[in-house]
C-alpha cells in the first residue's frame, strides 16, 4: 500500500478517536452535572438518566480502547499521534470512573425517595463542592478538546482547594449531625457524596496532567495531594 494511503488511514483513525474522546468527555461531564442536579432536586428521573449515561460511558470507553489498540497495532504511531493515543487510553479510565461516581451520587439521590434532601442547600457546602468539582472536570476536558496544556498545568492547585473544602464539608456535616440539625442517615449520605466529589476532582487532575503530556511531551511530577498539603504547611 502506498505510504500516503497508510497515513491517511491513520489520520482518519486519529480523527475518529478524537471525536469519540470528545463525546466521552462531554458525557462524563453531563453525568456529573445531572447527578448533582438529581440530588439537589431529589429527581428520580434525572437520577435514572445518570444510570443510562454511565452505561453509555462504559460502552464508549470499550470502543475507544479497542480503537486505540487497533491504531497502535496497524499504524505504529509515533510522536504526537502516539501521545494522543496513550493519553486517550489513560483518560478513558478517568472519565469512566467519573461516570461511576456520578452514578453513585445518583443512587444516593434516589435514597431520599423524592424528598428534598434536608439541609443540602442551607446547611452544608456540598453545592459549592459540586460547583468546584464540575469546574475542574470542565477545565480538564476542555483542555483535552482544545489541546491546551497551559490551562491545566496547575490544575492540582485547584484540587488542593477542593481537598480543603472536602475537609470543611466533612467537619460541617459532623457538627450538624452532632447538634441534631441533620438526620444521621442524611449526614452519612452527604459524607459519601462529599467523598465522591473529591475523587472526581482527583480524576480531573489526572486528566489535566495527561493533557500536558499529550500536548507537550512533558511528564509532570506526580505529587500526592497530602504531600502537597504537608509541603505547604512546612513553608512559611
Amino acid at each position: 500500500m502506498p505510504e500516503k494511503a497508510v497515513r491517511k488511514a491513520l489520520a482518519q483513525g486519529m480523527q475518529e478517536l478524537n471525536e469519540n474522546m470528545v463525546t466521552l468527555a462531554e458525557l462524563s461531564e453531563l453525568a456529573i452535572r445531572k447527578a448533582v442536579d438529581s440530588l439537589s432536586r431529589s429527581d428520580a428521573d434525572v437520577a435514572r438518566e445518570v444510570f443510562t449515561l454511565d452505561q453509555e460511558l462504559y460502552a464508549l470507553q470499550e470502543e475507544i480502547e479497542s480503537n486505540c489498540v487497533n491504531l497502535i497495532a496497524l499504524h505504529a504511531p509515533v510522536a504526537r499521534d502516539l501521545r494522543a493515543i496513550t493519553t486517550s487510553l489513560k483518560i478513558t479510565t478517568d472519565l469512566d470512573r467519573i461516570g461511576r461516581y456520578a452514578k453513585d451520587i445518583a443512587e444516593i439521590a434516589l435514597q431520599f425517595h423524592g424528598q428534598i434532601p434536608p439541609g443540602l442547600k442551607d446547611i452544608v457546602k456540598i453545592p459549592r463542592m459540586a460547583d468546584l468539582t464540575i469546574d475542574m472536570v470542565d477545565r480538564a476536558t476542555q483542555a483535552f478538546v482544545n489541546r491546551d496544556a497551559e490551562s491545566v498545568r496547575n490544575i492540582m492547585e485547584v484540587d488542593d482547594a477542593v481537598d480543603n473544602l472536602h475537609d470543611e464539608v466533612f467537619q460541617e456535616v459532623v457538627e450538624h449531625m452532632r447538634d441534631g440539625n441533620l438526620p444521621i442517615e442524611a449526614g452519612a449520605r452527604y459524607i459519601l457524596v462529599n467523598r465522591h466529589l473529591e475523587r472526581i476532582a482527583d480524576h480531573a487532575v489526572n486528566i489535566g496532567e495527561r493533557v500536558v503530556y499529550m500536548v507537550t511531551g512533558d511528564r509532570l511530577p506526580r505529587v500526592r495531594a497530602a504531600d502537597r498539603a504537608k509541603a505547604k504547611k512546612r513553608s512559611p
Binding site: V6, V78, A79, L82, R83, G217
Partner: protein, 282 residues
C-alpha cells in the same frame, strides 16, 4: 559501564526553516568519546551538494539509526565514514571526520586500512562468487598473516558471531551464491566481522529481506553493538525504533535532529522531525 552520554541541560530550540537548521540542528544529547565524529562534514557530487556541514557524534557500543526521506544524504554520510565516496570521481568532501579520534581524511590515512576498521554492509547482499569459507578468508588474508588452523578458527568464529555457523557449517565449501538472501547478508556481516572492525555501517541492510531474515539481522545487531558502534541507514522507521539507541534525522542534506531514539519517536524537538516521522511529509 562508563557513562558515555549525558543529558544536555538545555535543549536547543527546534528550528522552523531549513536555513536555520544549518546553524541550529536540535541535538539533545551530548556524546562523550564518540566512536565516530563528523565536524561540519559536507559532500558534493560535482556542483550538487549532497550533505552540508553535518556535525554529529556517534556513540560507542550503541546502534545509531540515520533516517530521512530519499535523497536527504543518509547514504552519502554513511559512505563518507569509510571513504567509499572516494570511488566516485566527482565527489568532493570538506570538513572533518574522525573514527576513534583519527582524522579519516588526514594525509596519511590508508583507505584500505580504514575500511578494515569500519565495515560497510550494503542494501543488497554482495558475497563474492566463491565458497562460503573463502568469502570470510579473503579479507583476513589481506590484513593478517594466519596459519590454516588459525584461519579455520577465524572463519568459524566470524560465522558464529553472525549467527550463521549452524546453517552453513556443512556447506563451507559450497558457493556462497547458493545461500538464501538473509544468509548471504549475514555472510557479508561475518566477512566484515572477521577482520575485527571497530564500527559497522549498514546501508538499508534488510530492505531486500523477508521479516524472519530481518529479525535475524536485527537480533545480530543487538548482540554486535556490545563490541562495536553500529550505524544503520534505514527507510523503515519502525526498524529504526526497534534497533537503534540513538537516531539522527536528516533532511535536504542537513542534520535536523539527533536524540535518543525513544525521545525522538515520543517527543521530537523539531517540527520537521515530527512531521516526517508521523508521515505528514516524505
Amino acid at each position: 559501564m562508563r557513562l558515555l552520554v549525558k543529558e544536555r541541560k538545555e535543549r536547543e530550540t527546534a528550528s522552523e526553516t531549513v536555513e536555520d537548521l544549518v546553524v541550529r540542528p536540535s541535538v539533545a544529547v551530548e556524546v562523550e568519546y564518540p566512536a565516530i565524529e563528523s565536524r561540519d562534514l559536507s559532500v558534493a557530487y560535482g556542483r550538487k551538494p549532497a550533505i552540508r556541514e553535518i556535525s554529529l557524534r556517534i556513540p560507542r557500543n550503541q546502534t545509531t539509526a540515520i533516517i530521512g526521506p530519499s535523497g536527504c544524504g543518509k547514504s552519502t554520510y554513511l559512505r563518507a565514514i569509510n571513504r567509499m565516496n572516494d570511488t566516485i570521481p566527482t565527489a568532493r568532501t570538506t570538513g572533518q571526520l574522525f573514527v576513534d579520534g583519527e582524522d579519516v581524511y588526514g594525509p596519511d590515512v590508508d583507505p584500505v586500512l580504514l575500511r578494515r576498521k569500519v565495515g560497510l554492509i550494503f542494501q543488497k547482499p554482495n558475497p563474492f562468487p566463491k565458497t562460503v569459507y573463502k568469502n570470510i578468508a579473503f579479507g583476513v588474508n589481506i590484513h593478517f598473516r594466519t596459519t590454516p588452523e588459525e584461519m579455520d578458527t577465524i572463519v568459524e568464529s566470524a560465522l558464529r558471531q553472525a549467527n550463521l555457523w549452524d546453517e552453513v557449517k556443512d556447506r563451507l565449501q559450497e558457493s556462497a551464491l547458493g545461500l538464501s538472501g538473509g544468509q548471504q547478508q549475514r555472510l557479508c556481516i561475518a566477512r566484515a566481522l572477521a577482520i575485527q572492525p571497530e564500527a559497522l555501517l549498514m546501508d538499508e541492510p534488510c530492505s531486500a529481506l523477508d521479516p524472519v531474515a530481518t529479525a535475524r539481522i536485527e537480533d545480530l545487531m543487538f548482540e554486535l553493538k556490545k563490541e562495536m558502534a553500529i550505524v544503520i541507514v534505514t527507510h523503515n522507521m519502525q526498524q529504526a525504533a526497534r534497533v537503534a539507541d540513538y537516531t539522527a534525522f536528516m533532511y535536504l542534506g542537513r542534520l535536523v535532529e539527533f536524540n535518543r531514539t525513544r525521545e525522538l519517536f515520543e517527543r521530537p524537538q523539531a517540527d520537521l522531525t515530527e512531521n516526517y516521522i508521523t508521515g505528514r511529509f516524505g
